[in-house]
């Protein structure tokens, strides 16, 4: 294909865009709406993933040793457990540290401090804090501990079960996700229909040119490509505008994100900026595929070439 014919294809597509200006605007608007809702779906998923990660990070199992378990026994337990594959990290809190932490916590309470001081011995045992690689691994890890010979050294195990909380997050995000998916699906379906119709109208508007093109021996692809190009332009513009609209919204959401994530910071706009190529790339791909598909259907039906 020569430069001159490529030029003609582009000019043709460009004209088609302007000749049915309002139709083009409507088409792009619908695609913009579709991809704004896709972007929201994406934001939601990013946020809920992060929320779950944050909560998961807070989950751990503490093994409270008897206060007469010796330091070497505790360290032996630690070594034993560090061989367990599901365990990511073990923090050792010695008896002394435990006492220190306890005192710190009850600083204001003179009674407790006093009674502690009256005791000759440290009443607290050492603690091992275990983090699993995955939240689902905790029951296994507790099993391992229960069945080990170290179990009788351990006075108590605490497992802060945040599972309920995580399930809640998952449930809420699943629900919102479902609504988002339906909305995106509907918008995408509408944009498919609109693109179909717009290309149909474009074919109709160009029927004279098309018949002459055929007469002078234009190939089918040559005749089709302006319409394909037109539909691709709609998609690319739609996705780009949707992203331009989404960015300021990210800024508006950020305060709520901050208040949710409290200690850990998560910057949505930054996340988008860092992944913009991937996000836009996938969205471009989706829109190009869909628009090409619906314009091919439109051409099948209305362009007998």
């Amino acid at each position: 294909m020569s430069i001159s014919s490529i030029r003609q294809i582009i000019v043709f597509a460009w004209q088609s865009f302007w000749r049915n200006f309002w139709l083009s605007i409507v088409t792009i608007t619908i695609i913009v709406l579709a991809f704004i809702s896709v972007n929201f779906l994406l934001i939601l998923n990013i946020l809920s993933d992060n929320a779950i990660k944050v909560v998961q990070n807070k989950v751990d199992v503490s093994l409270y040793f008897n206060h007469d378990a010796s330091e070497s026994q505790v360290l032996e337990t630690q070594i034993y457990l560090s061989a367990v594959p599901q365990i990511d990290d073990i923090t050792y809190i010695s008896q002394a540290q435990a006492l220190e932490q306890f005192k710190q916590k009850h600083q204001g309470d003179a009674d407790i401090i006093q009674s502690l001081n009256e005791l000759q011995e440290n009443p607290l045992g050492a603690t091992l804090i275990i983090k699993a690689k995955d939240i689902g691994d905790y029951p296994d890890i507790i099993d391992v501990v229960n069945n080990s010979k170290y179990n009788n050294l351990i006075q108590d195990k605490s497992f802060d079960d945040n599972e309920v909380f995580i399930d809640r997050i998952k449930e809420v995000s699943d629900n919102v996700n479902r609504v988002g998916l339906i909305a995106s699906g509907i918008f995408i379906l509408i944009s498919l229909l609109i693109v179909f119709n717009t290309i149909r109208v474009a074919i109709y508007t160009h029927r004279e040119e098309i018949s002459i093109m055929k007469l002078v021996g234009a190939t089918n692809w040559y005749i089709r490509s302006p319409f394909l190009l037109e539909s691709i332009i709609y998609g690319l513009l739609g996705v780009a505008i949707a992203m331009a609209v989404t960015y300021p919204i990210l800024g508006l959401i950020q305060p709520y994100v901050n208040s949710f994530f409290l200690d850990s910071t998560f910057n949505l706009a930054q996340y988008f900026s860092q992944n913009i190529i991937k996000i836009l790339g996938v969205e471009f791909l989706i829109t190009v595929l869909l628009n090409v598909l619906s314009s091919i259907f439109a051409m099948r039906k209305y362009l007998k070439v």
Binding site: M1, E208, G217, N220
Partner: protein, 226 residues
């Protein structure tokens, strides 16, 4: 060489536009195709440019049997056959130059080449200097010349002219006819479909008369006989 063998065209549900047409046309021949309205002349033209498919029979053009031509090959055929019609089929929003360029672009010819070719064909059809005009700024005869120029830019072996003078007055008709004869002199096979008795009688070329989808007369140096 164009060979039509037992060619029939049936338009469902009940129109037999052509009924067993047999015809040999030699290279560089000039043919007048005449006949009453609705006898199948345009249908014959459409079959030769593969706009319609034959119901029966064969069409062989330059040794190429195009009866069952594939869609993909139709453009190749059309670039070898120039066509003009009674309505000139020019694009109103394009200049003369652009209208002709339109035909060249589809076969991927560069703008530089176009700027060489287009003035040449415009000269042949007698429209030098009018390449920047729009169709509305031209007379009917001039518009038909633009259409002829567009049909000729591919240097076709065959020119099909379906009532090219149907919309023109006597003077313009005469000029277009002279042009067609000139094109024929350059070595292009011309098939002229016409109703115009004077035209047929004045040029003294082979005349084929069709009636009800059949060839009823084929004269070497013929006259309009209906």
């Amino acid at each position: 060489m164009i060979i039509l063998k037992d060619l029939s065209k049936f338009y469902p549900p009940d129109v037999h536009a052509l009924k067993g047409v047999n015809l040999h046309i030699k290279p560089k021949e000039f043919i007048c195709l005449v006949g009453k309205s609705g006898t199948g002349k345009t249908t014959l033209v459409k079959l030769m440019i593969a706009e319609e498919k034959a119901s029966k029979g064969r069409i062989i053009i330059g040794g190429w049997d195009i009866t069952d031509i594939r869609n993909r090959e139709i453009p190749i055929l059309r670039r070898q056959i120039g066509v003009v019609f009674q309505d000139f089929k020019l694009l109103e929003k394009k200049t003369v130059f652009e209208n002709i360029a339109f035909a060249l672009q589809v076969s991927g010819i560069s703008l530089v080449r176009m700027k060489e070719i287009i003035p040449q064909v415009l000269k042949i059809v007698g429209l030098e200097g009018k390449q920047d005009r729009y169709p509305v700024q031209l007379s009917g005869g001039e518009q038909q010349r633009v259409a002829l120029a567009r049909a000729l830019v591919h240097r076709p072996k065959i020119l099909l002219a379906d009532e090219p003078t149907g919309n023109l007055d006597t003077q313009n008709t005469k000029e277009i006819m002279e042009l067609l004869l000139k094109i024929n002199d350059f070595g292009t096979t011309v098939i002229l479909v016409t109703h115009n008795q004077d035209v047929v009688n004045s040029i003294n070329k082979r005349v084929i008369t069709i009636d009800s989808g059949k060839i009823i007369s084929d004269q070497k140096k013929g006259k309009y006989i209906l």
